[in-house]
Symmetry: C2
Subunit: 390 residues, 2 copies
């Protein structure tokens, strides 16, 4: 039996996944024609239709590796996180991933533990995988990490942590810190401690700045001995809180720049025989899911939306649209850990019994981002999409 041109019994017939060549043999068209037809709408053209049909019959999927070699683009974007075990970074990553996959990109993620050497190394690794753009979630305000990234010649956008004037999608950390400060002052606290985050992180710094602003507005002093580094982990939070308690047993409230350090602080308070929310008002930041269980007041922002917008911004940048910064609102969620006003005897728990959450249920409306300066002030409520970050 001679081979009808219908049954491909050529060399390529047998093994492996179908390639352009398989399709070319099947359709009788040149491989380059097939390649082009595949990028057209199947309905646009008889050839396109033919090729698409053959492709789906044979289960063809283009090989991104080979394509990437030729085009020098990979269809992948890189994300650099400080640690995915930080659930906020994981949420951001997941949102990025979802948008990216939907738009035909893969996400390659690397974590650096905020170590500058690892940052360089992992970015270079991503580069050698030819990522088409970078999302940096572990930016440092000091050092030249981000400046270096900017020289790489590929699109990039920061998320969560801003740095200098680089395009960044962040939440309004400063405003969040301000709300915490106002809240604690309003509850009657005067000896308020700050368990700060690492100095290289804009989130930490901005939260602290806003917090200090609120205290200053109210005329409340924040002496140096009420400030301790609390890191990003429960362990460092616990140690910082221990030091604070040792030095200033009279403190009545503490603002932890992250929920994780707040977890550590909570443990420290309990170990000292103190009850968070009754003896020491405690507020965290980020409102991770565990915070609700812990009845911990915290500042909420829309992390998933942050990631989503970062992904869209980057993909647009890859397509030539210059990246613009944006800032999402941050809203304090008051729960039992700070709901009781200072000295509140009867106040201690107005409700049915326990010192319960004050305004937990109704989700604080997490609106759309305000475009504009990343370190934007909370003012300017007018939806003014002007003023890109310089």
């Amino acid at each position: 039996m001679s081979a009808p041109d219908d049954t491909p019994d050529l060399a390529s017939g047998a093994a492996g996944r179908p390639t352009l060549r398989t399709l070319s043999e099947r359709t009788g068209l040149h491989v380059s024609t097939v390649s082009r037809a595949l990028r057209r709408d199947p309905a646009s053209d008889p050839t396109a239709a033919l090729v698409h049909t053959a492709a789906s019959e044979l289960g063809y999927r283009r090989d991104p590796v080979a394509a990437s070699l030729r085009t020098r683009r990979s269809g992948a974007i890189g994300m650099v996180a400080h640690a995915l075990t930080d659930v906020v970074q994981a949420i951001v990553h997941e949102a990025i991933d979802q948008v990216a996959v939907q738009q035909g990109y893969d996400v390659l993620v690397a974590s650096t533990r905020d170590d500058p050497a690892a940052q360089r190394q992992r970015v270079e690794l991503l580069l050698s995988r030819r990522v088409d753009g970078l999302i940096i979630a572990d930016a440092h305000e000091d050092g030249d990490y981000v400046d270096w990234v900017a020289t790489l010649g590929i699109p990039y956008v920061l998320v969560m942590r801003r740095a200098g004037d680089h395009p960044a999608i962040v939440c309004d950390d400063r405003e969040g810190g301000r709300q915490v400060g106002r809240h604690l002052v309003a509850q009657g606290h005067r000896e308020i401690a700050l368990l700060a985050g690492p100095g290289y992180s804009a989130t930490s710094n901005d939260r602290a700045v806003g917090f200090r602003e609120a205290l200053a507005e109210a005329g409340v002093d924040l002496p140096a001995d009420l400030v301790e580094p609390g890191g990003l982990h429960p362990t460092s939070g616990r140690e910082g809180m221990d030091r604070l308690l040792a030095r200033r047993p009279d403190l009545t409230a503490v603002f932890c720049a992250s929920d994780f350090s707040a977890f550590g602080a909570t443990t420290a308070l309990r170990a000292a025989g103190l009850v968070p929310g009754r003896d020491v008002a405690t507020v965290g930041f980020n409102d991770v899911t565990a915070a609700a269980a812990l009845d911990l007041s915290s500042v909420r922002s829309a992390h998933a939306e942050l990631g989503e917008l970062a992904a869209r911004t980057l993909i647009a940048a890859i397509d030539g649209v210059p990246a613009e910064s944006a800032s999402f609102p941050a809203t304090l969620v008051v729960r039992g850990s700070s709901a009781t006003p200072l000295g509140g005897g009867a106040v201690l728990s107005a409700g049915g019994g326990a010192p319960r959450a004050a305004c937990d249920g109704p989700d604080p409306a997490v609106g759309p981002p305000r475009h504009g300066s990343a370190s934007g002030t909370a003012a300017a409520a007018a939806a003014d999409p002007s003023g890109a970050a310089r």
Copy 2:
């Protein structure tokens, strides 16, 4: 000026990263010779030394994309997680990543939300990136997901969740569940509820099995109306607990098959005016960092070591060593949420006074894994490295 063969002013001189050809021009050797010399020890050979010197002078880094096209290997391994926002999966991922990078591999991660369609899709995406092996962290006991993965023809290993007889690195969930059961019974509880995990997950099932075993051993009944699905998230945990409380307000203890559902359960209890640890003993599973802050009893295992071993196992499998299953110990950590015996009183616990953590401080020795059947019984203490999976 004629070109001395020292200064490469050839076409390739100007732009872009150096390639093998650049090195070839620089050294006067053929590109294939350069390629081979690069894989030799620089000290082994004058040629190798020459090439390595040139390479580091020019900052050459081989292009994994091009290499991958030719070799059909990528130097990357794929990990499929159900969600990296589950901090346990994130910990496992981070451990895998660390080992992999150290061994010269990259890790490509995809998350599937336990959706079977997404599982297929993401695995195929990883495949088209030519990953050299797969680590599956979202295995289902039902369905044919893992069986399908096994037919793909690339090395794979499961982690966290086992399935059938496939090679899996897990912790001893059954033994963990058993310890929880024994503990709650020993505390005097008889109306004990189970907030189970999803039925497709071996972790959930094994934990439940061990738990039931312990109750049965003690002659304690676990009627169907004390069992509710609690999912993997605080929301589902909260809902499940609400249903349990509505149906059986007399329950005195609850075992949540994951810490996250325990968080939700805690919220539900509080909302019902009950205090976890005083009114209803609560135990979770996994001992995530927030559990300590919440004073939640939980079952601890060495997730990072799990991930590490999974990575090593997979990389060995890529090198031809057949993958073997392993099981790590799981140890109950008793904290305030379950430290008070039922009916309180003098029984309250031999120790000092407050119903504080019973065995929290001293890290329960998290030993090396016992190799052997993934569903291994806790017996066979003898360090017996025999018995591959089945």
